[in-house]
């Protein structure tokens, strides 16, 4: 227990340090703006969004249902597993394991599990499940951390872990656990859609095609369908429907074509992920390989990643502060919050790849569209979560008649209340941003994720493995720093 003279001062110090680091990063990050001529293409995109069209309705419906099926099954397994891991999250190896599974993008998990299970539903499920378990473990552990220690003090100190947790921390945090799982289900829908890129029959399968081919009406139809799916979650995801849904989801899963079992797991673990020089016992060669990797990929990638994420995180934070009040009942009013909520919905449902592409057309290739795409997407997400938390509290809170109103209320009451949670989300998004930068190769910005993607494209798993380890360690470090910062809040 440390005594804190002023929570606000600590918090301000943390925020100022983050902003100072971001300002410093601005000096190094490449924000060149190129003259562009995007209006023809943007007009086509805009027109496509306004005139969504899809010739083959059953296939669209099927893709939507598959997207839901994968997400639902993955969460059904990942959430309880994450809960179990959260109970022992203080144990360092567990934290390390979770950090490493989180640092790999779902798409790469998909490619890794393809070694084992081919292009099959199991591959898709595992590709979502594994990283999500890591995320659940971390966030659940954090939720436990925020709970009062008092209930645990009032029961016998000899009571075992399972009994203790099932009577204190789990029921204490149950509403938070449920609401996070619900939110995570939405994330799983996004991941499930994205996994279409490696061949699962989900929305992403068609979206990527339509978008790549410039068929913007079809892309528009898919985006709108996805938007509706997400916006209507609370109407169709009912507690009593979950079990029937799971059964239906299992039945929905597509057949596996052609895979006879006997994937190349052993080959993958024993040979593919190790550089050949190491397998030959050539230590000199291995050293050279490491030096080469460090000089040409790890160091530049690390540097770019740190610069961009720092700027993106701070920009995300600013965006949240501006955007969240427009979606809250208490600040925008029960009717006027809907346009705000809609904008946030659009921001968080649009895949980063699409945002990045539009921004690339507008700004030319540089760090700028990367930072904006990440800030818009993540800002939309966090602002939505913050606004939701505010609305939940609005319903339960006893208001004081002498509460200020308007801007004063925003500045003195609502924002201070929301701020710690918002910072927690931001710190978590740091690692999400790290992961997402993998798909920003179209912008010509060589982050760590860019090199991981290249390694997978070039079927150089040994490089991917090394880069993933580096990313995982970076993840752990950032995680450690943000834990420390938050413990000061």
């Amino acid at each position: 227990m440390k005594f804190q003279p002023s929570s606000a001062r600590r918090l301000n110090t943390v925020c100022l340090a983050m902003m100072a680091a971001a300002l410093l990063a601005l000096f190094f990050v490449d924000f060149q703006v190129y003259p562009v001529d995007p209006w023809q293409e943007l007009a086509r995109i805009g027109w496509g969004l306004l005139t969504p069209g899809w010739a083959d309705l059953p296939s669209l419906l099927n893709a939507l249902l598959q997207t839901v099926a994968f997400a639902l099954l993955a969460i059904t397994v990942a959430a309880p597993l994450g809960l179990l891991l959260a109970l022992v999250f203080d144990w360092r190896p567990v934290r390390l394991l979770c950090a490493s599974v989180r640092s790999v993008h779902e798409l790469f998990w998909g490619l890794i599990f393809m070694q084992l299970y081919g292009i099959s539903p199991l591959t898709g499920l595992l590709a979502i499940m594994v990283p999500f378990t890591g995320v659940f473990a971390k966030v659940f552990a954090e939720i436990f951390h925020q709970q009062s220690q008092q209930p645990a003090q009032t029961i016998a100190s000899s009571v075992g872990l399972v009994k203790r947790f099932s009577y204190t921390l789990i029921p204490q945090s149950w509403p938070a656990l449920l609401s996070y799982t619900r939110y995570r289900f939405e994330c799983a829908l996004r991941s499930s859609a994205i996994l279409g890129f490696i061949g699962l029959p989900t929305l992403g399968f068609h979206l990527e095609t339509a978008f790549k081919q410039g068929q913007y009406s079809e892309a528009g139809a898919l985006l709108w369908a996805f938007l509706l799916l997400i916006a209507s979650i609370r109407f169709w995801l009912r507690r009593w429907l979950i079990v029937p849904y799971i059964v239906a989801a299992i039945w929905m899963l597509p057949d596996t074509v052609g895979f006879q079992g006997g994937g190349s797991l052993w080959q993958f673990v024993s040979r593919d992920i190790w550089p050949s020089v190491l397998l030959d016992g050539d230590w000199e060669g291995f050293r050279n390989w490491l030096v080469m990797m460090f000089d040409s990929q790890i160091w530049p990638g690390l540097w770019q990643t740190l610069l961009l994420t720092q700027v993106a995180v701070v920009l995300t934070g600013l965006l949240v502060l501006v955007a969240y009040p427009m979606a809250t009942q208490v600040l925008a009013g029960s009717i006027m919050r809907w346009p705000g909520r809609f904008v946030l919905l659009v921001l968080r449902c649009t895949p980063e790849m699409v945002l990045a592409y539009v921004l690339l057309l507008l700004l030319g290739p540089s760090g700028l569209p990367v930072v904006f795409a990440l800030a818009l997407h993540n800002g939309g997400l966090i602002a939505f979560l913050v606004a939701n938390a505010s609305d939940v509290e609005y319903r339960n809170r006893v208001r004081r008649p002498d509460d200020p109103t308007g801007v004063a209320f925003y500045a003195y009451v609502e924002t201070p209340r929301r701020f710690p949670a918002m910072l927690a989300f931001l710190f978590y998004r740091w690692e999400v941003i790290l992961r997402e930068s993998a798909i920003m190769g179209i912008l010509g910005v060589a982050t760590l994720g860019f090199y991981i993607d290249s390694a997978f494209e070039e079927i150089r798993y040994e490089r991917a493995f090394l880069l993933i380890i580096v990313t995982a360690v970076l993840n752990m470090l950032v995680d450690g720093v943000s834990r420390r910062l938050r413990s000061k809040i």
């Binding site: 005594f3 002023s6 029961i155 009571v159 075992g160 009994k163 099932s166 204190t168």
Partner: protein, 242 residues
């Protein structure tokens, strides 16, 4: 009978540079009923926590706020006190379907507490006084020889407070209880400690004290020094879900 349970010798406890407990020397023996008085922020809660850590295997602690789990019913909140007496499986099953023995025992406790009609209410639906009685129920169900209570009856109406306090003291061999009500302290305890700014400024048998003397100790302390009292953790910056 005079075996000592708690011992502090020049004990100091700091949050950062501010001492919360300053040079406390104290011995509490088995069988003593000790009232702990002093203004808010004097260090009473910290002292109780320190004492609890010395004898956690023998003590039932009732912290300020009670440590209730909102989502669970009155029954489950009290049952938690006896978790060490049931197996893990039974404890888990009890969450799904309450154990018959547990229900029988706890029904009696809630009767004493005057909560018999609330057994299956979740505690977030209860008033402050009712919640405090549930917390008291859990401490009673711990079946421990020592009771450490941090203002355990402060929100309960005076008449009931008095009888419950008497009941708790009768159920426990030893008790250290912080209070604001000086009258209760003089009537039910045999020793009084007064804390002021983290220092023990009075440690005396009740017989040697009068209500006026206690008042004096209070008025002295409530004056200007109060501004320096450490801020409690209950400000809006901390994410709390209790």
């Amino acid at each position: 009978m005079n075996e000592s349970l708690f011992e502090l010798n020049g004990f100091t406890f700091r949050y950062g540079s501010t001492p919360v407990l300053d040079d406390i020397t104290l011995t509490i023996s088995r069988g003593e009923k000790v009232a702990l008085l002093g203004p808010s922020g004097a260090g009473k809660s910290t002292l109780l926590t320190v004492l609890y850590e010395q004898q956690s295997a023998l003590s039932a602690l009732q912290p300020q706020g009670g440590g209730l789990v909102d989502l669970l019913s009155v029954y489950h909140n009290i049952f938690m006190g006896g978790l060490d007496r049931v197996s893990t499986i039974a404890a888990l099953w009890n969450l799904v379907r309450p154990l018959r023995t547990g229900v029988a025992e706890i029904s009696q406790i809630v009767q004493t507490l005057g909560l018999d009609d609330k057994l299956w209410h979740s505690v977030d639906r209860l008033s402050g006084g009712q919640r405090q009685r549930v917390a008291l129920g859990r401490a009673l169900y711990r079946h421990q020889p020592v009771f450490l209570g941090d203002e355990p009856v402060s929100s309960i109406d005076p008449v009931q407070a008095q009888s419950l306090l008497a009941y708790v003291l009768q159920q426990h061999e030893t008790a250290v209880i912080s209070l604001h009500n000086r009258q209760l302290a003089l009537e039910h305890f045999d020793r009084v400690l007064v804390l002021r700014d983290g220092r023990l400024c009075c440690d005396s048998p009740v017989k040697a004290l009068s209500c006026d003397q206690l008042d004096e100790l209070y008025t002295q302390t409530e004056s200007p020094l109060d501004h320096n009292a450490p801020v409690t953790k209950n400000d809006g910056w901390v994410i709390r879900t209790s």
